[in-house]
């Protein structure tokens, strides 16, 4: 039982309640800020002001959007499955909000004369709690798509589910090596370990990189935002959702971003501990009291900024490229890295005992196997003999869609023909995302129902 846990168990109930409420509020607030920040930053990056009307710097913009969203028409398609359709958003939101509880926001402090740590719950398997919440969230997505009774949401749901779980593997494997070094699954212990051994981001750089990538994939963010790939799938799994139900998904998505960022902070960036030069000041005075909250906030902010930055910088992946990245690069890399870490570490601990060579052979063997698998072309064995196998038998949308280049002379009319679809696509993107993904134009569009999205013009 580690010190944090000891402190936490004798928390009085009122303190626990306060903490709970706070930790519940934090992600939501961050979300609201995040949306605004995102739109501003991207706006800047795209040479445009971004929202700047509501409040100073338009800081109230997303609040306004949220309120507006609450008063939109709530629609349940006739083909939808009543209860599941109703349940899905809840199922998506709850775990997202739950995950933050195990993240240590700071060290030991005194609140109203009560010694405690800035952490809501210290459980032995904290990391697993976060991962568990992440995977439970998938149910929300999947059920939402399934229950909508409409092809696009279903396909979108499948995609996002597939992508979440695929990247969860890589994420898990990346975390394993952290756990291996920290020797514990409890978040606070991991922070402690980093205070001794230094940031795992540096110590386990590959794992950190893998985590960052999979973190973005896990939260369905650009460049991995395929489930909501407007041009292919309209709005993805929540196409049919509107009003507060939609808001729930939206919230869940952003809260998840916050959560994974917080996890990244905790596991790789030293958690609430002060960064290196500062940590030396006054033999770690900056690691005491309420200071850690600041460091934590900064690191979290950095991670969130990364999200925005990446989104602005990178184009969206194609689905096959995306899966390829997840399964054929991240997973093997994470696995191999873990093996290397394990072998080296154990070798170091057990001073060159006899079975050493066994392990070396073993590791080499593994590496070889992986290497071989890389050497070979990534295509399936050629189907030379035997009848041709058709694919899954399901009409997948063509993934390498080439827009036929229109003849020069009739180009005007051609574009005019294509325009409505384009507009429909574009504005419909605005419609569901009117709470403000990139384009401001849509933010004013009535974001009520998908059907209206079509005629919600600029």
């Amino acid at each position: 039982m580690n010190p944090a846990a000891e402190l936490l168990v004798d928390d009085p109930i009122w303190l626990i309640l306060i903490k709970v409420v706070v930790i519940f509020a934090i992600p939501i607030v961050i979300t609201i800020l995040m949306i605004w920040a995102e739109r501003r930053i991207i706006g800047r990056m795209q040479q445009r002001p971004g929202p700047n009307r509501a409040g100073p710097f338009g800081i109230l913009q997303s609040l306004a959007d949220a309120l507006k969203l609450a008063f939109k028409e709530d629609i349940r398609p006739s083909m939808a499955d009543k209860w599941v359709y109703f349940l899905a958003p809840i199922l998506a939101a709850i775990p997202a909000l739950l995950a933050m509880a195990v993240i240590p926001l700071g060290g030991e402090v005194t609140i109203f004369g009560e010694r405690t740590v800035l952490q809501v719950a210290e459980v032995p398997a904290g990391v697993l709690v976060v991962l568990a919440c992440a995977s439970i969230g998938v149910y929300g997505i999947l059920l939402a798509g399934w229950s909508s009774g409409s092809p696009y949401p279903l396909l979108g749901a499948l995609r996002s589910a597939a992508q979440v779980i695929s990247y969860e593997i890589a994420m898990g494997l990346a975390i394993v090596s952290v756990v291996f070094y920290a020797g514990s699954l409890s978040t606070s212990q991991i922070v402690e370990a980093q205070m001794q051994q230094g940031w795992f981001a540096l110590l386990l750089a590959p794992a950190f990189l893998i985590y960052l990538v999979s973190m973005i994939g896990e939260t369905n963010r650009a460049p991995f935002d395929l489930p909501e790939a407007e041009s292919e799938l309209v709005g993805g799994f929540h196409t049919e959702y509107s009003s507060l139900k939609f808001a729930m998904f939206f919230l869940a998505e952003y809260v998840n971003m916050v959560t994974v960022s917080a996890l990244a902070t905790t596991m790789f960036l030293g958690g609430w501990a002060a960064p290196w030069p500062l940590s030396q000041i006054g033999d770690g005075v900056l690691n005491t009291g309420w200071w850690p909250l600041l460091w934590f906030a900064l690191k979290l902010g950095a991670c969130l900024f990364l999200f925005i930055w990446v989104r602005a910088a990178l184009p969206r992946f194609r689905y096959d490229q995306f899966m390829h990245l997840g399964w054929k690069v991240l997973v093997p890399a994470a696995l191999g890295f873990f093996v290397v870490v394990a072998v080296i570490r154990v070798l170091r601990e057990s001073e060159g005992v006899s079975p050493t060579h066994i392990m070396i052979v073993l590791a080499v063997l593994l590496v070889i196997v992986v290497a071989i698998s890389f050497l070979f072309p990534d295509r399936a064995a050629p189907q030379d003999e035997g009848p041709p196998v058709s694919g899954s038998g399901y009409p997948l949308p063509p993934l390498d869609l080439k827009v036929p280049d229109v003849p020069v002379r009739r180009s005007v009319s051609a574009t005019s023909e294509q325009k409505p679809a384009g507009i429909a696509g574009g504005t419909r993107r605005g419609a569901t995302r009117s709470v403000g993904k990139a384009d401001d134009s849509a933010s004013s569009a009535p974001a009520s129902s998908p059907k209206e999205g079509g005629d919600g013009t600029v």
Binding site: L185, P382, D384, E385, P387
Partner: protein, 545 residues
């Protein structure tokens, strides 16, 4: 979980594991080969897989057998310079044991004389089965589908009945199943037994669905087998859980000690035992738990059926024998009665329902249910003779049944094997040899003297009578008389009745199937005339606890 695992780490002296590599070398060889063959699947071009896989599988069996011989015969091992001289354990220096029985992997696996015998049996039985699986002469391209992914009935599917290729994944699957069987009957604690059970079952589920002809039936068999099998293994598992609650451990020996003591909850013991046994009996397709057997035997590709019928029975009964005689001997008088009933039920069901069958594979399936009953008779006689008899019976029955299915693959008409009995009318005219072989095998199943079947029955029943189960034996004998009727019926069909106009043709088997059938027949005859060798080996020693 964190705490638990670390505590585990400190509590058990993990470093003190000593693994007797020689003892488990056959097992390792098989599993290793299974992995290798998966890699072959991955890296070889389709055209070269078949040859490589066949070579690997057969080679594996031989190597594993050789490894076992090396383990048994220490002098040879030393002679080959593979291991240094080890002092013989005086306790087992006498001639009765070939090698000192050991438990390894921290008591997870027990390699004792029954284990060795049954391992030998499994390897020996796997050889003809693999040969049949590999055969491509009887059915062009082998009995297995070229592309399991294709939807039955689709044009591509209809096209693929003619293409030469086959789904070579069968070989790794078969190897895994074999390894699972070997681990199953060697496992000395229930957890290992459970894992081994799944390792042997899952590949079989898949193999059932890979038939080239009649794919719907085949897939259906796979589904049924899978659902029922999973159901049964759930029971098995719950039984383990309860026994764990009863004894506080899943080591068979620990359970035995617990049963010896009286201070514990009988309810847990018997509930657990019951559920456990249900799972085991299901795998052995005994008595009322046989419901999957006929469907699966009929639907699965015949080579796979042969493999299942022979090897799965060996594994399952090996486990049953071990569990009963190691863990529950102390409480035997409490459950023996129930098993009497089960055995009787099994024999009666098998014999009576067998009479009504019109499909030869179903018929053999029911006969296997009846035989399971006979085996159970020997298994509940917890004596050395019972053990030896049952193991001998397993060996004899295995070879006979493999050969039977081998012959069944030969009799074909336009759409695959002609398994309907009416098609077999007057087969003796078409090909006297096949008919003669088949009737010999049937007589062996019926237990006519000078066949292995008779010797097996004799061994099992004499043990049973000696253990005071005379009434059961009488029932068994009557059951086998009834069962004899449907064997005789087939002989009558083949010999005495006129062939149908559009009867099946008897395709000339290639080297593999021929070898398999010949092996089966020869062993059946040999064990019938000179059973001594096998009997002595089977009788060497009992389980270690």
């Amino acid at each position: 979980m964190l705490t638990s695992v670390s505590v585990l780490a400190q509590s058990e002296s993990v470093e003190s594991y000593s693994i007797d590599w020689w003892a488990i070398s056959p097992l390792l060889v098989v599993f290793l080969a299974a992995f290798v063959s998966v890699l072959l699947e991955a890296f070889l071009p389709r055209s070269r897989r078949w040859a490589a896989q066949v070579g690997l599988s057969i080679g594996t069996l031989l190597i594993a057998a050789f490894a076992m011989i090396l383990y048994i015969n220490e002098d040879l091992r030393v002679g080959l310079g593979l291991s240094e001289e080890v002092p013989v354990d005086p306790a087992f220096a006498d001639a009765t044991h070939q090698v000192a029985p050991v438990t390894t992997f921290n008591g997870a696996l027990a390699v004792d004389d029954p284990t060795l015998f049954l391992w030998g049996t499994l390897l020996a039985l796997a050889l003809p089965s693999f040969l049949m699986i590999a055969d491509r002469s009887v059915e062009p391209g082998g009995a297995f589908v070229a592309q399991a992914a294709l939807r039955p009935g689709s044009t591509q599917d209809r096209a693929q009945t003619t293409v030469p290729g086959m789904q070579t994944e069968v070989f790794p699957l078969a190897l895994f199943a074999l390894g699972g069987m070997m681990a199953f009957l060697a496992s000395n604690d229930l957890l290992t037994m459970f894992v081994a059970l799944e390792v042997l079952s899952l590949p079989l589920y898949l193999m059932c669905g890979l038939a080239r002809r009649r794919r719907l039936i085949s897939q259906e068999a796979a589904v049924k087998y899978f659902l029922l099998g999973a159901f049964a293994s759930a029971f098995f598992l719950y039984g383990i859980a309860l026994l764990y609650g009863f004894a506080g451990s899943v080591q068979l020996s620990a359970i035995a000690q617990a049963t010896a003591g009286t201070d514990r909850s009988e309810t847990l013991l018997f509930a657990g035992l019951g559920l456990l046994v249900v799972g085991l009996l299901f795998k052995a397709s005994v008595g009322p738990f046989h419901s999957w057997t006929p469907d699966v035997y009929q639907g699965a590709p015949t080579p796979v059926t042969a493999f299942m019928a022979a090897c799965t029975k060996v594994a399952a009964f090996g486990a049953i024998l071990r569990v009963f005689s190691v863990a529950f001997e102390a409480s035997s008088w409490e459950w023996e009665g129930v098993l009497w009933a089960v055995a009787i039920a099994s024999m009666v069901i098998g014999a009576v329902l067998g009479l009504t069958q019109t499909d030869i594979k179903r018929m053999v399936a029911y006969s296997s249910v009846a035989h399971a009953g006979f085996l159970l008779v020997g298994a509940i006689a917890l004596t050395d003779d019972g053990l030896a008899g049952t193991m001998f019976y397993l060996l004899a029955y295995g070879f006979t049944t493999v050969a039977v299915f081998g012959v069944i693959t030969l009799v074909r008409d336009s759409d695959g094997e002609a398994t309907h009995l009416s098609k077999w009318a007057g087969l003796a005219k078409r090909s006297p040899l096949v008919a003669a072989v088949f009737s010999f095998l049937l007589l062996a199943l019926a237990g006519i003297p000078l066949t292995s079947g008779f010797m097996g029955k004799l061994a099992v029943f004499s043990a049973a009578v000696a253990d005071g189960m005379a009434p059961l034996v009488v029932v068994a004998l009557i059951a086998s008389a009834v069962a004899a009727f449907f064997y005789v019926r087939v002989i009558v069909l083949m010999y005495f009745s006129e062939p149908a106009a559009d009867g099946p043709t008897v395709s000339v088997p290639g080297a593999f199937t021929t070898a398999a059938i010949t092996l089966g027949v020869v062993v059946t005859l040999l064990l019938g005339v000179l059973p001594t060798l096998a009997l002595d080996w089977a009788g060497i020693g009992g389980f270690i606890s």
